[in-house]
């Protein structure tokens, strides 16, 4: 826990400066002080040998559920921030659908204070779009931002009425924050528990058609054009959504989008056998959707990779498929999955991965980090891109175990995570 850390001999990837090469990174008093060859640190500096490893700005996840306050049996801010650090994330954005929801200054302040006490990954709360997430009365964005919220969202639910979404996008412009929308037409999706397709037909489960997402994506894009507000489209899952976003970007609209590792890795086939760990919202879709998400990540239609980390107690998933809650945890598998699925397959380069998991997320939500520029906060990750490991949820720092990837062999894992110049996770100690 020295105030100086010298990371030696790693492959330093910094998309913010278009740089990629063997170098040392020197960190002092919570800031990056130099990046280059043969740096000599001051006496007493902690030396970390990163040869054979990748040194990058810490990963940033724009979409996690940390469950505190209210559902601390699933996750807390502290356990979530630790899981994030172990996954190579130096910052996460916490969705406000807690109990009570984060719709006021006090609640936002509480999450920030819990994160400070934990002292692991940074946690940026997202405030609600509407009071109580009821879709009726706009939250006090000014108060939320003043307390530290970085965006607004009613995630878990869509902003159903077009009027509310329009107002939110307009009003958010005052504060320069994005409105993150969970796109789902509830009248089409109601009662659905997986993708509507051949697998739902065979299993006899009520499906959620792709159209339920695409209708809201289209609406949000139209409203972004109307208002000039920044709409951030959460966890995109369909090929139709990718097409809509691509066209919106061609028009130069203020639209950004994220995709999760599970949506670009799995399909609805994972629900076979009524596997409740493959139940999430939006649901896992078809092979053509998965491919469209991958192409979207390659060409930039989809800006960032976010986990939608959604912890649930094991009891809650140990039940009938249509009764089980939606969501899976993702912080501790995100890098391994993205590296294995997108980089080793040749779709993305490692610098492109870092761009979509660190540099661009920081820019989109206007967060510190995502860069190793001199003077930037020392939020750094050392990644081992070669290590093969088997996902064993029992060893996770998250309080929950709900993942469909248990037993899967991944290539690539975070070795060491530095936040504000301090080592918050070191696999050698784990």
């Amino acid at each position: 826990m020295t105030s100086s850390i010298l990371i030696r001999g790693g492959r330093v990837i910094d998309p913010s400066r278009n740089s990629d090469g063997i170098a040392d990174v020197y960190v002092q008093d919570g800031k990056i002080v130099s990046v280059g060859r043969n740096i000599v640190g001051e006496d007493g500096a902690q030396i970390i040998d990163a040869s054979g490893k990748v040194v990058a700005p810490g990963l940033i996840d724009l979409h996690v559920h940390l469950r505190e306050p209210g559902q601390e049996d699933r996750e807390t801010v502290a356990s979530g921030a630790m899981a994030a650090a172990a996954g190579g994330f130096t910052a996460v954005c916490a969705m406000p659908n807690t109990d009570p929801v984060l719709d006021n200054q006090g609640a936002i302040g509480f999450v920030i204070s819990q994160a400070q006490k934990a002292g692991k990954a940074r946690v940026y709360p997202i405030g609600t779009v509407s009071l109580g997430q009821n879709g009726e009365t706009l939250s006090e964005f000014g108060e939320l931002v003043g307390a530290g919220a970085v965006a607004v969202s009613d995630d878990g639910k869509p902003v159903m009425t077009s009027h509310m979404m329009r107002t939110a996008l307009e009003y958010a412009r005052t504060f320069g924050i994005p409105v993150a929308d969970h796109c789902e037409d509830m009248s089409l999706a109601e009662g659905g528990c997986m993708h509507e397709g051949i697998v739902s037909t065979r299993l006899g489960l009520k499906g959620i058609p792709s159209a339920a997402e695409e209708i809201m994506v289209a609406r949000d894009i139209i409203l972004a054009e109307l208002t000039g507000g920044h709409v951030h489209l959460c966890h995109m899952s369909t090929r139709g959504s990718v097409d809509l976003i691509r066209r919106a970007k061609e028009k130069g609209l203020n639209v950004t989008a994220e995709a999760t590792p599970h949506h670009f890795t799995l399909t609805h086939d994972a629900c076979e056998g009524y596997n409740t760990n493959a139940k999430m919202n939006p649901p896992l879709r078809e092979a053509a959707d998965r491919e469209a998400l991958r192409q979207g990540l390659k060409d930039g239609t989809i800006d960032v990779i976010a986990t939608d980390h959604a912890p649930h107690h094991y009891d809650a998933k140990e039940r009938e498929f249509d009764e089980a809650p939606n969501g899976i945890i993702g912080l501790e598998t995100a890098f391994g999955l993205t590296h294995s699925e997108l980089v080793l397959s040749g779709l993305l380069t490692l610098p492109e991965l870092v761009y979509r998991m660190s540099t661009l997320p920081a820019r989109i939500f206007r967060l510190p980090g995502g860069t190793l520029a001199v003077g930037a906060p020392a939020d750094v990750v050392i990644l081992d891109p070669a290590v093969q490991w088997v996902v064993e949820p029992g060893g996770f720092f998250s309080k929950s175990r709900n993942t469909p990837f248990a037993g899967r062999t991944l290539t690539g894992r975070a070795d060491l995570t530095i936040v504000r110049g301090r080592v918050v996770y070191d696999r050698r100690d784990a």
């Binding site: 397709g197 037909t201 065979r202 006899g204 009524y274 009938e320 009764e323």
Partner: protein
């Protein structure tokens, strides 16, 4: 080698044609027991069976209970109203408690698709699916197939049209799988708003006009239209449903002479099927019910480990 059924019967999708034929042939032999003055054989004497019904059912529950009693099993009926389930107990806890009581078999009817499979994976007892949500109702599928075999001799090349609310029907899914495995041609017919997505990928013809299905088919299996489908907006009215999709005498006038009509019950007379069809010469609805007991006897007996010739093992009383 004689095929076996495995531990549970949760679906026809996962059975082989040989396993289905084994059940049909075993049921054939059991039919005779129900025609005796003393309708009882000792095949399952000493076995304990729980009929666990989380959904209202008269016909299926009674049919299973008769099958169990005619095989001399000891049975307990649990219906949701009288169990701890209504106190919020989870299915997995219910399962563990049943296991702790050392029962041999569970017959489960449950509103959630996959619930029979869920239970079967968690307890050592044999589990028989008596209808799980919108997934499967395998014994209904089997009794429908047995009824067709009784009438037509062979299923191969037989054209069976399943008509009505296929979207919400476990009977439809079990029939589709079972019939196709035995070589029948299967069609589904109904309003597209009551058809599951991508249903043709199950290998079935799809008709949207009942007249086309009648012209095509050797047998119609007319599904019950749940009355709440109207209030939830899938169809405009029962009256219109009968006018457009009802199996009526007029529509059957031009059908081939051999066409038969089945219905899994309970019927909505005057909605999906008219009374003069249900009670008319083409109807095999009551033989279906009779076959239901024989099918369930066969399934219980085979899952309990019985061989193909039950009379040599159990003898008769």
């Amino acid at each position: 080698m004689t095929p076996r059924l495995g531990k549970d019967l949760t679906a026809l999708e996962t059975l082989s044609a040989e396993q289905i034929l084994l059940i049909l042939d075993t049921a054939e032999a059991f039919k005779e027991v129900s025609e005796r003055p003393i309708k009882k054989v000792p095949a399952l004497r000493g076995k304990t069976i729980v009929n666990l019904f989380f959904e209202a059912s008269t016909r299926t529950r009674i049919s299973f209970e008769f099958a169990e009693k005619r095989l001399s099993a000891d049975t307990v009926n649990v219906a949701t109203g009288g169990s701890s389930v209504s106190k919020g107990e989870t299915l997995v806890d219910t399962a563990r408690n049943l296991e702790a009581m050392r029962i041999d078999m569970v017959v489960i009817r449950h509103p959630a698709s996959g619930s029979a499979d869920f239970l079967g994976k968690r307890i050592r007892s044999n589990v028989i699916n008596a209808g799980d949500g919108k997934h499967e109702h395998p014994t209904q599928g089997l009794l429908d197939i047995l009824t067709l075999r009784d009438r037509f001799g062979s299923l191969s090349g037989l054209k069976v049209a399943i008509c009505g609310d296929v979207l919400h029907s476990r009977v439809a899914r079990s029939n589709i799988w079972g019939l196709k495995k035995l070589g029948a041609d299967v069609a589904v017919c109904g309003p597209p708003s009551l058809m599951p997505r991508n249903v043709s990928e199950l290998g079935v013809e799809v008709f949207t006009r009942i007249e086309d299905a009648i012209r095509w088919a050797d047998a119609l299996n007319v599904l019950r239209l749940q009355l709440e489908r109207m209030t939830s907006g899938f169809i405009p009215s029962l009256r219109e449903y009968n006018r457009v999709f009802g199996v009526t005498r007029e529509r059957l006038e031009r059908a081939s002479d051999k066409l038969i009509v089945m219905h899994p019950g309970p019927m909505n007379r005057g909605v999906e099927i008219d009374s003069d069809v249900a009670d008319g010469p083409r109807s095999v609805i009551l033989p279906q019910v009779t076959n239901g007991v024989a099918i369930r006897m066969a399934v219980l007996y085979l899952l309990a480990g019985g061989g193909p010739d039950w009379q040599q093992q159990g003898g008769s009383e």
